[in-house]
Amino acid sequence: MVDKADKDISRRKLLKTATIGSIAIGGATALNMAAPGTAHAIVRQLPTTWDETWDVIVIGSGFAGLSAAAEANGAGAKTVMLEKMPTYGGNSIINGGVFAAWDDKWHYREKLNLGTDSPEQHFGDFLRGGDYYNIPELAKTVAFGAVDALNWVVDDGGAEIRPTVTRAGGHTAYRTHAAKSGSGREYTEALRKICAKAGIAPTLNSEVSWIWRADADPKSPVLGVEVKRGRRVLNLKAEKGLVLASGGFARNVEMRMAHFPLLTDEYNCTNQPGATGEIHKYAQAVGADTLQMNFIQLYPFAEPETGLLDAMAVYPFNGPGYGILYVTKEGKRFVNELERRDVCAFAQIKLGKSAKPTFSIFSDAMVVPMGGDPEEVQQGLKNGRFVTANTIAELADKAKIPAATLVDTVNKHNQYLKDGKDPEFNKPITKAMISLDKGPYYAVAQWPAVHFCMGGLRINAKTEVIDVFGSPIPKLYAAGEVTGGIHGSNRLGSNSIPTCIVYGRIAGRAAAARNA
């Protein structure tokens, strides 16, 4: 095996040779890190003319891209926001709309008597939830910036949130806010409004197909991107900065299996079809470093047949702080419901394929406190996602769970709440948890689906993308799910939206402020 140092040296040599070669023919060859003959770009020449010239180019129109574009264009930098899909919003517009922030302008946690919280405590949960694989500085920036990010979309964008906070898996405090509309669209629409005020809208159907950089010298900036638009291929120049906000790669089965072989196409995926990760590769091809690409999260409670994370699939996630139960189709609990997503997902996977689906059991009294909405519950009943009954035994029949077992499980759990102790799974019992002793009751089917990539491009807290030798790549920024190291091995649910908005804004401002 080649020694790591040797490898680095030979890589450097290779890059240097490439640079010299390019100078010899007039500096026109584009940087290409791929092995000779294996990449379509190996003989690529840098564009000699540009079809469009911008100050800032943002790739992606989800939470991070919208935030970056609003800040950059708002700061006076001429900005374009490229979206490869025919619709804006990426995964953000279909996400569950849960937003972790230790406080909000209404102070719901305090008003509802749901204990204490602080940015430090949120930061601690980030690290514990990610098994301390997180780059602490990256996580800290989010924990301390989350409230400001929430206020921004509420005050400037008109986003509305439900009047409660929940304690979601892996969090030690009631800090998860739910969007009024029950999905991330609440915030993408708010951000789109903020963008409109700043004079920018997403440019759809524009797929980036290469990032241009002359060489890997730490002083060598990225120059622009190649874009496929309709049947045309265009070159766009970025004078001040290129912000990558292109999301994760959960829909790319080959790529996710390259890092986590277990995640075959047998698993459903909650993501939109565009979450395919090619921007990670283009960034790597111009020298960007990645980290923790194998940390890929499954959402434990997706719709079992399609993998959809619909509004109903958010109930199981928001419920544990209020006493929701997760049971197998045999009617038995299988995990501490307050556990992290990875634990809840793998607890189901370990039961075997034949155990699909499992169920969440909750009652009417829990709906509103856990961020649910009675009208939404009616829709869930109508479209068959929820089943309901006035007794646990009837509910069991409707969900095809053995009634006697489920009744026994519920009774035991009710007793645990009274005792303040869960001897089976050691769940920390809180006063906010509601006993399942009054109907109507509800059940919703669930099963894990591939959901989120914790790993990605290496950035610093200024969102500068770091190259494989540890230097920031000039003019290259990244924010959102395309980046890695913020969440460690496991992202706590509801930490993603604040992450994307906080870092999207930083990236947009940084790119706009840079000298051309």
Binding site: P86, G89, I94, G230, P273, E305, T306, L308, K382
Partner: protein, 234 residues
């Protein structure tokens, strides 16, 4: 439509007088080079006219060339294209059009240029014209209703990266509320492609592709729903 330049008209007249062609043929005219007796190919219900004697310019005295850019149905040009374009019909655009890539796109014998499409635009136009005339896609549905390029794309000749804005579609198909009403699902009011969670300003072209099979974008995620769309793949 660019008006015929008086000089061009004078020139045509001069040609007609000075260089009388063979019987039934008009010199430098796209129609009469194939149709010796142009009056014989007029629709049966066409009013009696002598204008065919002067070839296409005779037609254009009454019919707009259909390149004004307005969204109208049944323009003269779409009917002409529909009968001429297709796999087994006129071989290419240049049978009728003067085409100089990057410089001119006009009509043989007419002093008109609508635009200056480049060669790759022209190649795509050629393919698309065939699709429009013969496919099972939305373009052919429009062709059957006599809506041609200009009906959707407006004044200039469509370019490779051209798209059609919602307002254009809604000129004939709108307003969006009317479409939403048409596709309402009485059992699941939220399951409506024209009033979905992706917003009512979603581009029509997300699902409705003109020159390729239309697809229900909803089905990317909502795989269990059966939804139909006109102009889908066969």
């Amino acid at each position: 439509m660019p008006k015929l330049h008086p000089t061009a008209i004078a020139f045509c007249l001069w040609l007609a007088v000075m260089m009388p062609p063979a019987i039934g043929q008009v010199a430098n005219d796209p129609c009469s080079s194939c149709h010796r007796d142009l009056s014989s190919v007029l629709p049966k219900d066409h009013p009696h006219t002598q204008a065919t004697a002067s070839g296409l310019s005779g037609c254009l005295t009454c019919h707009s060339s259909g390149q004004r850019g307005e969204a109208v149905s049944n323009p003269f040009s779409s009917r002409l294209h529909l009968v001429h374009v297709g796999e087994k019909k006129a071989p290419d655009c240049t049978s009728c059009h003067v085409v100089i890539p990057g410089k001119q796109f006009g009509l043989i014998g007419q002093n008109i240029s609508w635009d200056a499409p480049k060669s790759d635009d022209l190649a795509a136009m050629n393919d698309i014209a065939v699709s429009w005339a013969t496919s099972s896609f939305t373009d052919h549905l429009h062709a059957k209703a006599s809506v041609d390029c200009a009906g959707c794309h407006g004044k200039s000749v469509p370019r490779l990266d051209d798209t059609v804005e919602n307002q254009r579609c809604l000129t004939c198909h709108g307003p969006i509320e009317k479409l939403a009403e048409k596709t309402q699902n009485p059992d699941f009011p939220k399951r409506n492609p024209h009033a979905s969670h992706l917003g009512s300003d979603i581009a029509c072209t997300v699902c409705h592709h003109a020159h390729q099979a239309s697809v229900v974008y909803c089905n990317n995620c909502h795989r269990q729903w059966t939804m139909k769309i006109p102009g889908a793949a066969d």
